[in-house]
Amino acid sequence: MYEQIASNKRRSILIIAFFVVLIFLLAWVFEQLTGMGEGGLIFAALIAGVSAFASYYASDKIALAISHARPVTKDEFPHLYNVVEGLTIAAGIPAPRCYVINDTAPNAFATGRNPEHSVICVTTGLLEKLNRVELEGVVAHEMSHIKNYDIRLQTLAVVMVGVIALLGDWIMRSVWFGGRGRKSGGNNGGAGAIFLVVGLVFAAFGPLIAQLLRLAVSRRREFLADASGAMMTRYPPGLASALRKISADPEPLEAANKATAHMYIVNPLKNLKGSLNKLFSTHPPIEERIAALEKM
């Protein structure tokens, strides 16, 4: 367990370093293409530094904002609070804050940078469709992610994937318009090279994002959270039955996307099937997880 925590912290640093280099590189490419010169390089370094800092401290807020989650009080959902408080005691960690997504699709995730700054987020569908033992199972699973520092890594990945996708878009657009501007000016020579670069950058994006996610999530981590969650409640059938209910629900979760899908307890993007999505597959098959829980 402690090994897992150390490995998660190491990977978090690695992922930030990777991100800084990447942002710097992208900004440099951008600067080369638009011809800003020396100032552009400093600008690039600045962007890289600031975004790395921001992603460490604000990634949880970003992840919650993307998911349209809102904080809730104990008066609104007393049983969610009671379950969370109970498992907080069992896990021996500070109480996480509770957030809710207004969506009928049942699902849940945890985010934050350490147990002192953590959030457990569930959908209203989860609260309606699960009974108390099942809810306890799900919350215990999320609590294990918090305890093991999985949340830091997973939440950083959300921001990285999001920013890379955004930057790709940004470069594409600026080069597109920039290229056309030059074309009208009569300087046609650079345009071909620019498009070649953009093409290469884009070709690199898909696998890059997949690689990032693979760094952040592993099937082992989900199994581990299931196991330690079950140990927390001392009742594995609760989580098993919850997983069955969540995966059997046909509704996709609208607030989830490729950048946040890996955080959820069960993959929220149900309508996506195919070989490309296997590359982005972030969750082990639900049957295997249930079988593992039933063997306990």
């Binding site: 009671n82 379950v83 109970g86 069992a90 021996g92």
Partner: protein
């Protein structure tokens, strides 16, 4: 000269190792006490909820005086109890009395629809599971502490400074221990 130097280094390492072991034992002992205090916090919360619950139920089911008396009596006994074992027994009686109270409430549809009653029921259920989790956490910590006192080499330090093994919290529910009898 180098031999003396080496000797001093070894002594220093041993001393620091002993200090480390001693400190970790003290830390674990304090964590045990803290975990037990957590249980008390939750128990206190339950004692505070019970009079409210009894009053609410009384408003709808006046004739069930016996049940109210039983609950109130069990509550007072639980508050008075001290020590891990006695308290466990008294708490079990209280849990039993509360079960009867909720069973009685089943017969009053108006009471079951009462917002206040529903809230108290949820709070009590939440507190009960918190008590259970707090005890579980206490036992987990006690196991760590006791193990540390028994394994080598920390058992030497524990013996030297007279650390004592902590008592586990065990449920003394007679029904839970008896084998299940099935008769046709």
């Amino acid at each position: 000269m180098p031999v003396l130097f080496l000797f001093l280094i070894i002594i220093a390492v041993v001393v620091f190792y002993v200090i480390g072991l001693y400190n970790s034992l003290v830390t674990l002992r304090n964590r045990c006490d803290n975990a037990w205090a957590q249980v008390d916090v939750q128990l206190k919360r339950r004692y505070d909820l019970i009079p409210n619950l009894v009053e609410t139920v009384k408003g709808y089911a006046k004739h069930e005086r016996e049940v109210f008396e039983k609950v109130t009596q069990a509550r007072n006994m639980a508050i008075a109890a001290s020590g891990v074992k006695d308290q466990g027994q008294a708490e079990n009686m209280l849990s039993g009395a509360l079960k009867t109270l909720f069973a009685v409430a089943e017969a009053y549809p108006e009471l079951k629809a009462n917002q206040n009653f529903l809230m108290l029921q949820e709070e009590l259920a939440g507190t009960e599971s918190k008590i259970a989790y707090a005890r579980q956490f206490y036992n987990d910590i006690v196991m760590k502490f006791n193990t540390k006192q028994q394994v080598f080499p920390s058992n030497i330090i524990a013996g030297m400074f007279q650390f004592k093994l902590k008592e586990y919290f065990e449920l003394e529910e007679p029904a839970a221990k008896e084998p299940v009898k099935v008769q046709f």
